[in-house]
């Protein structure tokens, strides 16, 4: 299965519709298979991001806030969405792989200083 994570530097992007970078990791037998790919998008667009998730046959999307229309669309396309996640993408990926990531989770109490402007 593939997991797509919206990125803002090393963190999960606060908003799906404003995301310009995503990480796609392939999970095989509970482990990351190969190097996760980082894809830079030409611009922020929820529609394009949904298309990318479908094209890449992603099974799980991990993101920050996402509008309900796009959330429902992904669900309709049988893509699981865990939203409202705050924290480093790497940590979110690790938790998702062991099925311990829940919507609304804050994965750290203090932000990485390098990610703030």
């Amino acid at each position: 299965m593939k997991i797509l994570i919206t990125l803002q530097n090393n963190d999960i992007a606060p908003r799906f519709d404003l995301t310009t970078e995503v990480l796609i990791a392939r999970i095989t037998r509970g482990k990351i298979s190969g190097a996760p790919r980082t894809i830079l998008l030409p611009g922020p667009s929820s529609d394009e991001l949904c298309s990318l998730a479908i094209k890449e046959e992603v099974a799980l999307v991990i993101c920050g806030g996402i509008e309900d229309a796009h959330f429902q669309y992904l669900i309709w396309k049988k893509i699981e969405v865990i939203d409202r996640i705050i924290g480093p993408a790497e940590e979110a990926l690790a938790l998702a792989m062991v099925k311990k990531l829940q919507s609304g989770a804050i994965l750290r109490t203090r932000p990485d200083r390098s990610t703030t402007p």
Partner: protein, 507 residues
């Protein structure tokens, strides 16, 4: 949705509030401000909680020190959870990494405001006016920022010239049954009693609940919706009533429940029939006493919240089966509204088709003007087990699929075409205007060559199906039984003709 720019910023003299700043900075070590100050001065937080706008207190690195309850309800995070986190991760503003607006306020020492949006807990974009006011401690000179968020949805709608189409925002209907609901709405809004909304799935229970909230005196306070069927019992209890740190494994911080987040406003518990029995007892207690114990807490929490519930189940039957407490049923069933299924709403299908067609065409930047008479006929005869939600999805599908200006039968989802037809929902003469080809709708036999070929459409044709069947027969006769030619005559695709012939047992 309008994304604000700093061009709209206005400045005015800062209200420096030295007392508050001093209180904060006497206890908050820079630069990692904490909520200790607020803990030591709970009256400050109480003051902020009384304001019907979102308010966040940020440190000089724009990390959250504290949020008022209104903002907790908007974001879904408690102040304690949010503490120390860069504000944009919590608020999900359109600013993203560009905090120029906040920096400007900090550097100039003057309040700045701008407009934009945030993505709320309910996954909706909320247009917001942000006002950042720097506050300085006169003793230490350390800076903090008060960020106020004012919901400007209504203002933006007025600016955009949008008008509410129905008697209540988001609810549409001209049918007598919906008129009854609309007449009831002001009464429901002007009381604080519990409301039970019943109706099949997709009839608009959520929208009605929100409309009641917005029309009520609690309209400026949060409207919180919780689906009682979406979470297991243990999580639902925490979601509704909150928990304290250490209440269970993984409870790393205190978390306010939805009842607390809805303070002053309305909580809408949808699918109340799915509420587990143990929680029904707790809910009953909350309704009676207006207070409860969060999970693991020894301290009671008082709440002032109006309760609206919704269900597609027959609660009385559930009571009889022992699946729902009778006392809770009576407590919830103070005011009851039943939303009729779409198949019982005469004329509303065409009104809703019109509305959704315009809405999706505008949203998807498509130049779709109308819906063909054949497609319209199919839609008005469909039974809509999923009610308005299903109709909305069908039109969204059609607008997406359609490449031209008219939604044809082929642009409807296949399952709609496969369903057997039911009697028409609309009564002639009662439908509102629609962007359809009226000529062909009203007099289908005068438009197509096939129609001219068999002028003798019987006067006693029972319905559109009979007329259409006659049209097909006429076209086949004209083309000498050649289906391709007949399809051309009818201006249909071959597949459509084949399907229609099968439908009318002509194949």
């Amino acid at each position: 949705m309008i994304h604000g720019t700093d061009r709209n910023n206005t400045k005015h003299e800062t209200d420096h509030r030295p007392d508050i700043a001093a209180k904060i900075h006497t206890t908050v070590p820079a630069p990692t401000g904490t909520g200790e100050a607020m803990n030591q001065y709970p009256e400050l937080l109480e003051i902020l909680n009384g304001v019907p706008h979102g308010i966040a207190l940020l440190d000089q690195d724009f990390q959250i020190i504290e949020m008022n309850r209104f903002l907790e309800a908007l974001t879904g995070y408690s102040g304690e959870e949010a503490r120390g986190i860069y504000y944009d991760f919590i608020l999900r503003t359109h600013f993203q990494q560009n905090s120029h607006f906040l920096r400007q306020a900090g550097e100039t020492g003057m309040a700045c405001n701008t407009e934009g949006d945030i993505l709320g807990l309910n996954r909706k974009k909320i247009p917001v006016r942000f006002t950042a006011t720097p506050i300085l401690s006169p003793r230490t000179g350390q800076a903090a920022m008060v960020l106020a968020l004012e919901d400007i949805t209504a203002i933006q709608e007025t600016r955009a010239g949008k008008k509410e189409i129905g008697p209540s925002k988001g609810l549409l209907g001209h049918s007598p049954k919906m008129q009854e609901v609309f007449e009831l709405l002001p009464i429901l809004a002007h009381t604080d009693s519990s409301v039970l909304i019943t109706g099949e799935t997709g009839t608009g229970k959520d929208i009605l609940a929100e409309a009641i909230h917005h029309a009520s005196k609690r309209g400026k306070y949060p409207f919180i919706k919780v689906n009682c069927g979406a979470l297991p019992e243990s999580l639902l209890e925490s979601e509704l009533f909150g928990h304290v740190r250490g209440a269970f494994t993984g409870a790393h911080a205190d978390k306010h429940g939805m009842f607390q987040l809805a303070q002053g406003g309305t909580i809408f518990l949808t699918e109340i029939g799915d509420l587990p029995l143990p929680l029904q007892v707790k809910l009953l207690t909350v309704l009676d006493d207006r207070e409860f114990f969060p999970l693991g807490s020894q301290k009671k929490v008082k709440v002032d919240v109006r309760l609206i519930t919704g269900t597609h189940r027959d609660l009385r039957k559930l009571v009889g089966e022992g699946g729902f407490r009778e006392d809770l049923f009576f407590r919830l069933n103070v005011l009851r509204v039943h939303l009729p299924p779409l198949r019982e709403r005469d004329g509303d299908v065409r009104l809703l088709i019109d509305h959704f067609l315009q809405m999706f065409a505008a949203n998807f930047n498509k130049n779709i003007q109308k819906i063909s008479p054949q497609a319209l006929q199919r839609l008005t005869k469909y039974r809509y087990p999923g009610n308005v939600r299903e109709l909305r999805n069908i039109i969204e599908y059609g607008v997406n699929i359609c490449r031209g200006e008219v939604i044809e039968l082929d642009h409807l989802p296949p399952y709609v075409l496969d369903e057997p037809l039911s009697p028409p929902l609309s009564r002639p003469g009662t439908e509102p205007s629609l962007p359809i080809d009226r000529q062909t709708d009203a007099a289908p036999n005068t438009q197509h060559p096939a129609a001219n070929s068999h002028k003798g459409v019987p006067d006693n044709a029972a319905n559109w199906s009979d007329i259409e069947k006659q049209n097909i027969l006429g076209a086949l006769m004209q083309s000498g039984g050649n289906r391709s030619e007949a399809a051309k005559v009818l201006a249909w695709g071959r597949t459509t003709l084949w399907r229609k012939m099968k439908e009318y047992s002509l194949a």
